[in-house]
């Protein structure tokens, strides 16, 4: 009941704007894959082209080894879940779920059984006779999912499935979808701008920016070995430090981090450092260098330390409180920066925030979705 999804060289322009540019990736049979990117990165367009709701200018779409590029939406038999549910507002929940079966003229008895089965599965059995506007957002999204699953599609495509929900419901639904996927094993591809969602749910993540694929890989590879400056900045919070390369090290003042392979001496480089990859010590070590503590914000089990390097670049560390007992504003300590992700400065994406010293916090995407949910 599941098939792989392959897209090869997908390209699509809207007027002069190239929304999707030569996108190639594969979502293996039975996995969950996330298309992750900021708004306008073309991820939804890719999803809609797979579904047949948008026609690519070039490239091809394959599902379960069969080319579908020219097939009509109806013939593709893919499940699609819309961000704003797109439930049929004049139909009851049961009628909504049964729709895909009744348009294919499945007999009534089978329809009833399948609808019962799905309503049970999504935990909405008592709500079959309600109308969509009598349900909460989370319930509506589950109806949309049941409706998409009813005709037993080979693959499930979800466009920002949790984007219109508030944070708590989103968490619940995420866990529930994970569980559902384990149970059904249907190949799923979902679009999201929320990196946390992608990291948590997906077996494989396709990171997109400006219509292009930046990196494809499992969550840990995306997080720990970002292939491009964009991925380093977009996935997870990072400090952005700018320096000059000498002998495969980035120098900012007297501070040094390793990892500048393949960057010529004298070139500008940017090092991305996770807030939790900073170690604070009282004494200088082989790889540590002095920092000034400017502010400490206690956030319960951990604290945020606002530090400043000798050359003036700010640095934010997030550390468990037990590791920084006694650290206070005004102290001069030593920092050891682990796992720096170093890229030549000319490769850095201008539009991702690569101002020296800025900390990129992708968590702001959450508020964007929340604002949307309130509309």
């Amino acid at each position: 009941m599941a098939g792989s999804i392959q897209v090869r060289g997908l390209t699509k322009s809207f007027g002069a704007f190239r929304a999707v540019d030569d996108v190639t990736f594969e979502a293996a049979e039975g996995t969950i894959t996330a298309l992750l990117g900021p708004s306008g990165s073309g991820k939804s367009t890719v999803l809609r082209m797979i579904a047949g709701l948008e026609q690519p200018d070039a490239g091809s779409v394959w599902v379960a080894g069969e080319e579908l590029t020219e097939a009509s939406v109806q013939d593709r038999r893919l499940g699609f879940v819309f961000q704003h549910y797109a439930l049929f507002r004049h139909m009851t929940v049961r009628k909504n779920v049964a729709f895909g079966l009744s348009v294919r003229r499945v007999d009534k008895g089978t329809q009833r059984e399948r609808v019962d089965e799905l309503l049970e599965l999504v935990g909405l059995a008592p709500f079959g006779d309600r109308y969509p506007d009598q349900l909460s957002g989370g319930q509506r999204q589950r109806v949309a999912l049941a409706r998409a699953l009813a005709p037993r599609p080979q693959v499930l495509l979800l466009d920002e499935p949790f984007g219109a929900l508030d944070a708590r419901v989103r968490q619940e639904l995420r866990a529930w979808l994970d569980h559902l996927h384990r149970e059904l094993g249907v190949t799923s591809l979902f679009v999201t701008h929320d990196q946390e969602e992608a990291l948590e749910l997906a077996n494989e993540i396709v990171v997109m920016n400006h219509g292009r694929v930046e990196q494809v890989g499992p969550a840990d590879a995306i997080y720990n070995q970002p292939a491009t400056p964009f991925v380093a900045a977009f996935v997870g919070a990072s400090n952005v430090l700018r320096g000059t390369v000498w002998e495969r090290h980035v120098h900012f003042g007297h501070s040094i981090v390793a990892g500048a392979h393949e960057i010529p001496d004298g070139a500008e480089a940017i090092a991305y450092i996770r807030p939790h990859d900073i170690e604070i010590t009282n004494e200088a070590g082989a790889t540590s260098f002095p920092v000034a503590v400017e502010r400490r914000t206690d956030m319960g089990w951990m604290s945020k330390l606002h530090l400043r390097l000798e050359d003036g670049q700010p640095l934010v560390a997030q550390l468990p409180n037990e590791e920084i007992v006694g650290v206070e504003a005004g102290q001069r300590l030593f920092a050891n920066l682990r796992n720096p992700k170093v890229f030549a400065a000319d490769r850095a994406d201008v539009e991702s925030v690569t101002v020296p010293g800025a900390i990129v916090a992708p968590a702001e995407t959450q508020t964007e979705a929340q604002a949307e949910a309130q509309v």
Binding site: F99, V103, A144, A150, P151
Partner: protein, 281 residues
């Protein structure tokens, strides 16, 4: 403190006064302009008793007039509904060069006097008109006959369905339809099972307005029909002639019948709509 509560009370009294004033103006306006004429027609139509009503309806020219009006209305409603939906779908969904122009043109019949519409039809189909030779060669009488009467009525009734349906479609968006496609529904299935149920109230209103407009049309029909008694005389044209010939009683009775039809239709739609929205919760 006493002073505060006094001024608060004064404010509240002022607000109440304003509300009462607005309400009375609105009611008075509606009463004077709508209810008074209606009451007048009802009074005069029924003044002589039901015998006169029966007598009027037994007259063959009255019957023929109603028959013509009914035919014109039915054809007009069918045509303006069918094409109205198509035009509305195109205007709401497609982007094309000249869309604004089309959108403006759709409103043209509202802006042009029906008399002018009638004259345009005469220019096209009358003696020496552009299309006259075509129909004459095939022995089809257009002007001073039913075809031209239907034609001008359709022209005048074009905007109603379109104007009611376009905003509903725009508000609806495409997502439900796209969801239906992904579930395997053909374009026709999608229209019948998703789009149509969603636009039905707007559509019904449009149809009702279209029907009401078509039975009430005088000017254009008067010019193209020649208003031949018992032949090309619609109910409204009958009313005109009856007045001219001092048969006011009959005119009032026919007028009341037409008005009742429109009123019943609108009340019917309103009732259906209310029941449906109660069902949907």
């Amino acid at each position: 403190m006493n002073a505060v509560s006094t001024s608060a009370r004064a404010n509240r009294r002022k607000a109440r006064l304003w509300r009462a004033l607005m309400l009375s103006v609105a009611l008075l306006y509606v009463a004077v302009l709508l209810l008074a004429p209606l009451g007048g027609i009802i009074y005069y139509a029924l003044k002589e008793g039901m015998g006169e009503v029966g007598h009027t309806f037994r007259q063959s020219d009255v019957r023929h007039a109603f028959y013509l009006t009914a035919i014109i209305m039915v054809v007009t409603v069918i045509v303006t509904t069918f094409f109205g939906i198509i035009v509305a779908l195109v205007l709401a969904r497609d982007r094309f060069v000249g869309k604004r122009l089309v959108s403006a043109l759709v409103d043209l019949p509202l802006a042009v006097s029906p008399v002018i519409v009638g004259l345009m039809a005469v220019l096209l189909f009358g003696r020496g008109g552009w299309f006259e030779p075509f129909f004459a060669a095939r022995g089809i009488q257009v002007i001073f006959a039913l075809p031209s009467m239907i034609l001008v009525t359709i022209f005048i009734s074009i905007p109603f369905v379109i104007r009611e349906v376009v905003p509903v479609l725009q508000e609806l968006g495409m997502e439900e339809e796209q969801a239906a496609w992904t579930l395997g529904a053909s374009r026709l299935q999608t229209f019948r099972r998703v789009t149509l149920p969603n636009i039905r109230w707007g559509l019904l209103y449009g149809i009702a307005l279209s029907a009401a407009r078509s039975i009430g049309e005088v000017g254009a029909v008067l010019i193209v029909s020649g208003s031949l008694q018992g032949q090309t005389e619609t109910a409204t044209l009958y009313i005109l002639r009856a007045f001219d010939q001092y048969q006011e009683q009959q005119a009032y009775i026919v007028a009341l019948t037409l008005a009742s039809f429109s009123i019943v239709m609108l009340i019917g739609i309103e009732t259906l709509k209310r029941r449906a929205s109660r069902e949907a919760g």
